[in-house]
Symmetry: C2
Subunit: 294 residues, 2 copies
Amino acid sequence: MRAFQARLCAQLEAADGTGEFLTDAWQHHQSGGGLTRVLTEGTVLEKAGVAFSAVEGEMSAQAAQLLHMPNPAFFATGVSVVLHPRSPMVPIAHMNVRYFESAGGQAWFGGGMDLTPIYVNEAQARWFHQQLVAVCQRHDAAYYPRFKQWADDYFYLPHRQETRGVGGIFFDRLTVGPDGEAESLFAFMQDVGNLFGPTYTELMHQNRALPFGEVEQSWQLVRRARYAEFNLAFDRGTRFGLETGGRTESILMSMPPHAAWHYNLVPAPNSPEATTLAWLRKGVQWLETPDRLA
Amino acid sequence: MRAFQARLCAQLEAADGTGEFLTDAWQHHQSGGGLTRVLTEGTVLEKAGVAFSAVEGEMSAQAAQLLHMPNPAFFATGVSVVLHPRSPMVPIAHMNVRYFESAGGQAWFGGGMDLTPIYVNEAQARWFHQQLVAVCQRHDAAYYPRFKQWADDYFYLPHRQETRGVGGIFFDRLTVGPDGEAESLFAFMQDVGNLFGPTYTELMHQNRALPFGEVEQSWQLVRRARYAEFNLAFDRGTRFGLETGGRTESILMSMPPHAAWHYNLVPAPNSPEATTLAWLRKGVQWLETPDRLA
């Protein structure tokens, strides 16, 4: 996990061109800790966080209930990434890989990645999902459809009836059984992690030079506010971290650098903003024949 | 409740000078509805929301559990106010009065108000609490200490170990007993509501002309982000509204117009920002001999 963090940060720095990740090492109040790496004010990336942690401890009764855990003792390690680019033409992205062990002898892997364009570019969304399906199919043909649906359901704002973005894959509790599938699950998780750097930096390069103005910047602040709503009100990872006494600044490094809430903002019909909103729904099949908007 | 909403909006418009409340009427998907009134881009108030609602319906099993309700059928009415002034020298303020009836025959009143200065002005915080204690004492000498403590506990960000602001009063489930204290509880709730307009507009007038610059505006965005964190992650009213299928734009009108999240921002020692942070703790006795910072 730590080596992966270092590699990914180097890829992102190289692609950004000027930004540099600073490093904060921290200790958990029980046992373990982490390395939080944050890049701010890069050329492309306004705020990028890549957090590694490995923590052993006892979660609160409330957190154990949230996770349906009979025993509060746990070991958890993972890398979480959230990238907030400066330009509204470059999508926000999130990636996470994690491993969890409970005292009862259960062990599982989880992770995923999803893309949140400020303006949905249909071809790029399709390409992003093609990268995901390719990685999934190297491991199990059932993974992509299952984990794509899971991402649609997970990265969802019920009060807005909107997906967070164009989705991606999400998987949790891929359990290591009595016969031990640990190696194959670990390999899958590594492949997902290793896909993220090349995929995201390609999207950075494709979009970084696109022009934009005040309208696009204002819409970016609105979409970033939705990102904040999801993370604070719904994201289980964020809530688990805050519940288990995790390091607040590391957990909330995912928050956008700026956000704006306007009362009852409704984009004009047929505007690029309305077109993007129309894509933010569950069940879009990005790999099939173009699913044109009605 | 509706007459109170109209009166309060008129007071706030008069104090602002130029801003005007627009009105959105909405229907609940089950029964009832509300009037959401929002003022934006006033002279003093950047974004002000005053929402009335009266809703009858059945809450979800999840919401009923959240509220410890044996029966999901309910009637609820109230007025909620959140004011986000333009100047960082004028505090954010919140007020709520509410009445709730469950199908099981229970009825109760709730409400409160609290002040969130971007920069804590000790004398003004004391004055604000003096207004609250005066209203409480007209009804019950035990109210202020109890409801002040309740506000400290309620308007609290556990992951930051910070109160939202300088507190105020919070009360919930003041239950109408078999002998019927409905009249006296209703009178208390009305007095709390009626205190808000004159108290807040006085603070507007005292602070509206104070100078400020970029440092103060930047700190305002940080404190507004904390406000967003509290509302989305912890506020039971917000979560209850979103859970019961309330109107999202009315519930989230409380969100700040702009907010900023910086990674690991720590104010310089002895700066006005650090002094403010030092006040944001539970148990400050604003009515006693000045509790000087150590």
